[in-house]
């Protein structure tokens, strides 16, 4: 394996949890709901998936449990913002705080346990192609799943009737409601989908990426996922690009250190964040004001309003 291959491989795996969580949030936001609780749902996904995987000695059950945990957290959020029309920003933050706390309680008995690595899926012949072979055809299942998910979400939003409904509701819930579209129901499912994805991303962190659980292991990745959605101007393909750019910035700064450039490590650590701001700025300048933000994003829906 050459160093370029190796670096690309690391970037892809580092980006995958960000991509999965951001795709879920993208669907939620496209329906007009801003869920700032990604970090909390992800933390719960990590803790529950690990607990279940260890208890039942099954990665599959672990993944399912992680997605379920994320979904349940999302359901709680849906109850607040749809059922009670509560402030979405506040509810999302509450979800994050709750998720970080609860995940600590759930994970505590599993500190010190570990899981075996999942063997990468080796697609014969194709994986022997130089450079791209290892990169494209010898990843773990989650990496493929995340790419398939990107395509599916894109197709769903742009090519299906149901996706169109979801987008119209996100654009303007008042007129969507007037047209008889089921605002609440669609948003409910969109929120749950976001939760399941965040849970899956958490499961990836705990079961594949680190293969052990520890408190606070999401370390702010949920917030990065939120940033990616805006960065991508609410388009799935760009989420993929953004996730890989952020992953690359994170990984390359470490390589820059190992290559002994002698730059302050704090400056290098700040690069991914500064790069995100810069990218947001450039995108905004290029696309003008409303860069694809759903019109009703973050506004509580009450029929008579």
């Amino acid at each position: 394996m050459t160093i370029v291959e190796a670096i690309l491989l690391t970037i892809v795996t580092a980006s995958t949890p960000l991509l999965i969580a951001a795709l879920g949030e993208l669907v939620t936001e496209r329906s007009g709901v801003l869920n700032l609780g990604v970090e909390g749902m992800m933390a719960m996904g990590a803790a529950c998936s690990f607990a279940a995987a260890v208890t039942f000695d099954s990665t599959l059950i672990g993944v399912a449990a992680g997605m379920l945990a994320g979904t349940l957290m999302a359901a709680l959020f849906a109850l607040l913002v749809l059922g009670f029309a509560a402030n979405q920003t506040g509810s999302g933050l509450a979800l994050t705080i709750l998720g970080l706390g609860l995940s600590g309680l759930i994970g505590a008995p599993f500190v010190g346990a570990r899981r075996d690595p999942i063997a990468p899926l080796d697609i014969p012949i194709l994986s022997d192609i130089p450079v791209v072979g290892r990169l494209f055809f010898e990843q773990d299942l989650f990496v493929y799943a995340s790419i398939v998910l990107t395509v599916l979400v894109g197709l769903y939003l742009m090519r299906t009737r149901s996706g169109l409904t979801l987008r119209s509701i996100g654009e303007n819930h008042t007129s969507a409601n007037a047209l008889g579209l089921p605002v609440w129901r669609v948003r409910f499912w969109a929120i749950l989908f976001g939760g399941a994805c965040a849970g899956l991303a958490g499961a990836y962190l705990a079961l594949v990426y680190t293969r052990f659980w520890s408190p606070g292991m999401t370390a702010g990745r949920g917030w990065i996922a939120l940033a990616l959605v805006v960065f991508a101007a609410w388009r799935p393909g760009w989420v993929l690009v953004g996730a890989y750019i952020f992953g690359a910035a994170t990984v390359l700064q470490l390589h820059a250190q190992a290559a002994q450039f002698g730059v302050p490590s704090q400056l290098l650590s700040a690069v991914p964040y500064l790069a995100t701001i810069l990218a947001l700025l450039l995108l905004s300048i290029r696309h003008g004001r409303a860069i694809g933000a759903p019109g009703s994003l973050g506004v509580p829906f009450v029929p008579d309003r």
Binding site: T10, R114, F212, V251, L254, Q257, A258, Q266, S269
Partner: protein
């Protein structure tokens, strides 16, 4: 939590020498011991090992000792948590991170009848001791193992922050490797965190991608050594024995063993013999313990055991003079035949042969 746990038992910097006027201690039947941790007890690393020490106290004095801990105490807001312990009847309080130094001193002055112990700091009081461990002794040994076993002739180091404790560790590791393999190269990455498993893992992967085949780490999670295991390379456990996370990759681990010290200090309070002291113990004091040497040829194992014995007996000091700086000039030797404690604890230079610059 950035400055997690810098250590330094700086003899020369004691705020107050032992004062003769300290309250006469009485033997006690029951003792309540409190701990302040900077991280969660489940961090697998620093706080986890201190908690092992706490549990050792409970086992050592059944019925006589009760223990308490407060975890994840932010350094900027720790004074209250320490005082809470002082106010709730604790006789002996351990604060286990460098950042707790000033708050511990403040509370200690306010509660002269309670004994305090601060890890890795340098400010003392008649009722405040300091203690730390010479982890660089262990790092010299793993450096030798790495120097012997590397095939790519490039060894790697994942550091948390470029602070003296970590710099001294890197130097000891590299000096060890150099002593058995003069041409060995080292690559260093700072993760800028004590604890973020995914990022630590990424840092390790970056090193492995750049041709490193022996990986030492000075961050708390098992992620780096796991990365080594996944690539079929070798690594060394940090703070606790990480064998279960990397059974094929772990050659040995430098284990922080606070149990003996904690039990001894608790016993001193029970006996009424506790005094303010400054302890900086290494392999000899059993504060630094090497977990079993595994996954290595017998000759390397023998070398490691001999070095460990030599350090234990005092015949070998990792920082024995002459030590050359990066520019090839000799570092002034302020101790007896080796760098002085102050020089080691405040270290901010790399030794000759390290091609990187300390990021500052």
């Amino acid at each position: 939590m950035f400055s997690g746990k810098v250590y330094g038992a700086l003899a020369g910097a004691a705020v107050l020498a032992l004062s003769a006027g300290a309250a006469v201690a009485q033997p006690k039947d029951k003792v309540k011991v409190g701990f302040i941790y900077v991280g969660p007890v489940g961090d697998h690393g620093w706080s986890y090992q201190h908690d092992q020490g706490r549990q050792a106290i409970e086992k050592a004095f059944p019925g006589k000792v009760t223990t308490t801990f407060v975890e994840s105490v932010p350094e900027a807001d720790s004074e209250r948590a320490i005082e809470q312990l002082a106010r709730t009847g604790h006789d002996l309080i351990f604060t286990t991170s460098f950042g707790f130094m000033e708050p511990t001193l403040k509370v200690a002055k306010k509660y002269p009848n309670i004994k305090f112990e601060h890890a890795t700091g340098f400010k003392r009081n008649p009722n405040l001791s300091t203690y730390a461990a010479k982890f660089h002794e262990g790092r010299y040994i793993i450096g030798q193992i790495a120097g012997k076993m590397t095939k790519s002739n490039t060894i790697g180091y994942v550091g948390a922050f470029p602070i003296p404790e970590v710099i001294a560790g890197i130097n000891a590791f590299y000096l060890g490797a150099q002593s058995v393999n003069p041409n060995v190269k080292i690559k260093i990455v700072f993760a800028n965190t004590w604890y973020d498993p995914a990022k630590e893992g990424d840092a390790a992967k970056a090193l492995l991608d750049q041709g490193v085949d022996m990986l030492a780490q000075h961050t708390d999670s098992p992620a780096p050594i796991q990365a080594a295991e996944a690539r079929g390379k070798f690594g060394f456990g940090q703070a606790s024995d990480m064998e279960r996370f990397a059974p094929k990759a772990q050659l040995t681990a430098i284990v922080d063993n606070w149990s003996d010290y904690y039990v001894a200090r608790t016993k001193a309070v029970l006996d009424g013999t506790w005094k303010s002291e400054d302890t900086w113990g290494g392999i000899n004091a059993h504060m630094v313990v090497m977990s079993p040497y595994k996954n290595m040829p017998d000759d390397v194992k023998k070398l490691a055991q001999e070095t460990e014995a030599a350090i234990k007996s005092g015949s070998l000091n990792p920082f024995k003079c002459p030590i050359m700086g990066q520019d090839g000039k000799e570092i002034e030797c302020k101790g007896k035949g080796a760098l002085s404690d102050e020089q080691v604890l405040g270290m901010n230079f790399y030794v000759k042969g390290i091609e990187d610059k300390i990021p500052q």
